[in-house]
Amino acid sequence: MRFTPHTAAERAAMLDALGFSEVMDLFADLPAEVRLGRDLNLPLGMPELELDRHVRSLADKNRHLGQMPSFLGAGAYDRFIPAAVSEILRRTEFYTSYTPYQPEVSQGTLQAIWEFQSLVAALYEMDVAQASLYDGATAAAEAMMVAVAETGRQGVVVARSVDPQVRSVIRTYAQGRSLQITELALDEDRCDLLELDRLLTDQVAVLIVQQPSFLGAIEPVAEMVESAHRVGALAVVIADPIAHAWLKPPGAYGADLAVGEGQGLGVAPSFGGPYVGLMAARQGLVRRLPGRIVGRTVDVDEKPGFVLTLQTREQHIRRQRATSNICTNQGLIALAATVYMSLVGPEGLRQVALLSHEGAEDLKGRLLAIPGVTALGPAKTFYEFAIRLPKDAREVNRRLLADGFIGGYALAADYPELGAGSWLLAVTEKRTKDEIAAFAKAVADAL
């Protein structure tokens, strides 16, 4: 077999050394009643030539983002990825190594993660960041757990303008510890601040808001964080890394934890994963953080080096008293984001965000000029925005697909209160002026 070196002769020699006569002797400890007395019901193995053809045939059954301009976001974005990112990801020393348990031979991974932590902390202007979580949704849920542990309270207030998938994951994680989740309603297209004051009691451990919100709105996060603090709750801000090239970072208005989805930072959309969850916190919470953390130290020769640290938070040391159960995280994707952030630098990120914003404003203007199309509310938006169509958005998407476009996200399934015409559109730096104009025209034609 191509992935296993042994020849029949070698197997025989090894068995012989063990005093066995056949391979089944190696499985003599399996009680007869548990042995699988048949072949697995799977096809035979394929030579690479056939395998390549077969898997490509599946890829060819899809229509991908390189083939159709897309205005779909809603948590995953078609952003430009510099070739240098994949060059580094293809370094086998990165992708075929594992969690750096032996730091002396893992300095590459460790330093890269430390740099990831530094970049994420700087992005959010928070004191510290950890080494990655599964994705933005679980990062939000883990942040909730941190707040619950820190406050000893059970109440959780989540803005309804948080990504519905994230809210769903939060609810799942909350089941374990029987937390009480309340949803903060919308006022038009933003959080209802009066309602927030009603919901915030001294039972509340944490307020979770998203900036910009799932609907694209720039929320009054600073006020909301202040409100949460007033009742002794922690504030978790789910902060989009691209928009935060320009927006005031969570650390600047006192958020306790900032989390986010890192997919936009050089990670392929890849049908939903692997992505990478970002989490940063204020200093006081560092020993409550989930997952890996890398620290800088020195070796016996006083040479600087990096290690996994604060491991007494972790499952392999603390077991049932660990801050989380995380073991494998999203190391390689964190590396992708690290390389991306290093390549674009502050100016590059600002430009990515600005181009996206300009495109979105252009598209928004064109769409709102179509008779019958209206804004959801007064909120300012960044590169993603919601509007209301005079037709079912799903129907419009179908028409657009026939024209070769991937349309926006039909909001009604998650937000029935917004109506069947509510539609969320994202514009990234990849969309050209021509594509935006053609798309706007196709929308007008579809209505």
Binding site: R11, D78, F94, Q111, T138, Q165, K248, R319, V339
Partner: protein
């Protein structure tokens, strides 16, 4: 030097089309950030920095990596090639279903194949890693009992040899963890188990082969006892590599399993992820599965959201699709014949290496090993020389191999947990055994050499205490 130290203001690694404006229109001053303290470098500098870092790593493609419990097997290159096809990598997860039929078919087939391999009825690919697979499974168990109004089941029983994620998961799911001792043979102590099973038992979590690399031959009895007590049996699939095609957890009484695609199914470990931890369940747990999963009907493949009893989403979208794709490619590459050979060669390699080492190291359980085995540094060496397992592990690094997992499982003193995997050759095993022999000789002859190891690695032994005492967790400008 960190990437921040290499920064010079004004350098750029990427250029972008010109924007029309210089700041986002319409945003108030107070809404904008001041500064973004990221480094600035050109593309060549970024590449040289990360290439340089990469060269400080050990990796499977660099040398032997017998890190027990982690299944550091070879990651076939065709998997990487397929994962980068734009027909997969450039799919938005919310595209219309008719434009992603190939991706859905792949996921559907993978669900089906994992069900067949594990002997379960239904599979969800959503969990992002093994630990999240556990969390999914245990939350489903919780939901199951609750749905049956069986509300007093607050305990999860876990062997003392278990991986840390098992108790951490149970606790995260709101259960009390009850530890079950191991018996002299390294298996679950049946009497201890019986004593702890009862009306409070929600579940028993096991891995089989266990973290000792031993097949739990009482498994049928354990399943019977657990079910009799009203609990469910959870299978931690981290060690599935040992039994592929030989035995299926579902056939031995397990109700839920997770599998680690990044172990048994060769998706790369990536320096610590991304992994993927699909869960499989028996029919009675199917209503609780997280959605969406993929279903098929005459019109094609579809995403099926969870029903009313579903525990809900474990993460966004459908899991780490890029890992599903690699695992799928691997399963198709090997097929039923190849997967069985994997288990055979993995077990053969473990037993052969154990055979080569058994005269030099202490073997706590003299039994047939499965895919891995646990040994200890001989007490005599430790007592005479002060050399510990940690020192031996560090010294091994000087010989260009990775060390085994050490000090786990916790129930074995000075443990070394060695998993060679099936993709290593006979010569590599022999060379490793010879290196271990050399290091043990050295431990006696020149203990200082071993205690101060490693000597030839990019950095030498690091001050972990200082790292924890004075945490330096991010760059700060001087």
């Amino acid at each position: 030097m960190t990437i921040f130290d290499a920064s010079r203001p004004g350098r750029r690694g990427v250029e972008l089309p010109a924007a029309k404006t210089s700041t986002p229109a319409g945003l108030a001053e107070g809404e904008l950030r001041r500064d973004l303290a990221w480094p600035e470098l050109s593309e060549p500098e970024v590449i040289r920095h990360f290439v340089g870092l990469s060269r400080k790593n050990h990796a499977i493609d660099v040398g032997f990596y017998p890190l027990g419990s982690c299944t550091m097997k070879y990651n076939p290159k065709i998997n990487e090639e397929m994962a980068r096809l734009p027909g997969f990598a450039a799919l938005h997860p919310l595209q219309p279903e008719e434009t992603v039929q190939g991706a859905l078919q792949l996921m559907w087939e993978l669900q089906r194949d994992l069900a067949e391999i594990t002997g379960m009825d239904r599979v969800s690919l959503q969990p992002a890693a093994g630990a999240q697979g556990e969390q999914t499974g245990v939350l489903m168990i919780k939901a199951y009992h609750r749905a049956r109004q069986d509300l007093e089941r607050t305990e999860v029983l876990i062997p003392d040899a278990a991986h840390g994620t098992n108790p951490a998961t149970a606790s995260l799911a709101g259960f009390d963890v009850v530890e079950v001792a191991s018996d002299k043979r390294g298996g679950v102590d049946l009497e201890a188990l019986k004593a702890k099973l009862g009306p409070k038992t929600a579940a028993v979590m096991l891995t089989n082969p266990s973290t000792l690399g031993l097949f739990e031959d009482n498994i049928v009895e354990i399943a019977r006892l657990t079910h009799e007590a009203g609990g469910l049996l959870y299978y931690d699939g981290a060690n599935l590599n040992a039994i592929l095609g030989k035995c299926r957890p579902g056939d031995t009484g397990f109700d839920v399993v997770h599998v680690n695609l990044h172990k048994t199914f060769s998706t790369p470990h990536g320096g610590g992820g991304p992994g993927s931890g699909p869960v499989g369940v028996k029919e009675h747990l199917a209503p609780f599965l997280p959605g969406p999963t993929v279903g098929q009907d005459e019109s094609g493949f579809h995403l099926v959201v969870g029903g009313p009893q579903s525990i809900g989403r474990m993460r966004s979208f459908y899991g780490n699709f890029g890992m599903h794709l690699r695992a799928y490619t691997y399963i198709r590459a090997l097929g039923k014949d190849g997967l069985t050979t994997v288990a055979e060669d993995a077990v053969l390699n473990a037993n052969y290496l154990l055979h080569l080492l058994k005269d030099r190291l202490t073997v706590p359980y003299e039994r047939l090993a499965k895919h891995e085995f646990v040994v200890s540094l001989p007490k005599a060496i430790k007592e005479q020389t002060g050399v510990r397992t940690l020192d031996v592990a560090k010294r091994l690094l000087d010989f260009g191999v990775h060390s085994p997992t050490v000090y786990f499982p916790l129930i074995v003193d000075e443990a070394m947990m060695i998993e060679p995997t099936e993709t290593e050759s006979k010569e590599t095993l022999e060379a490793f055994a010879a290196i271990v022999g050399t290091v043990l000789d050295e431990a006696v002859r020149d203990p200082e050499m071993v205690k101060t190891a490693p000597h030839t690695t990019p950095v030498r032994r690091l001050d972990e205490a200082r790292a924890a005492r004075q945490p330096d967790l991010r760059y700060r400008p001087q």
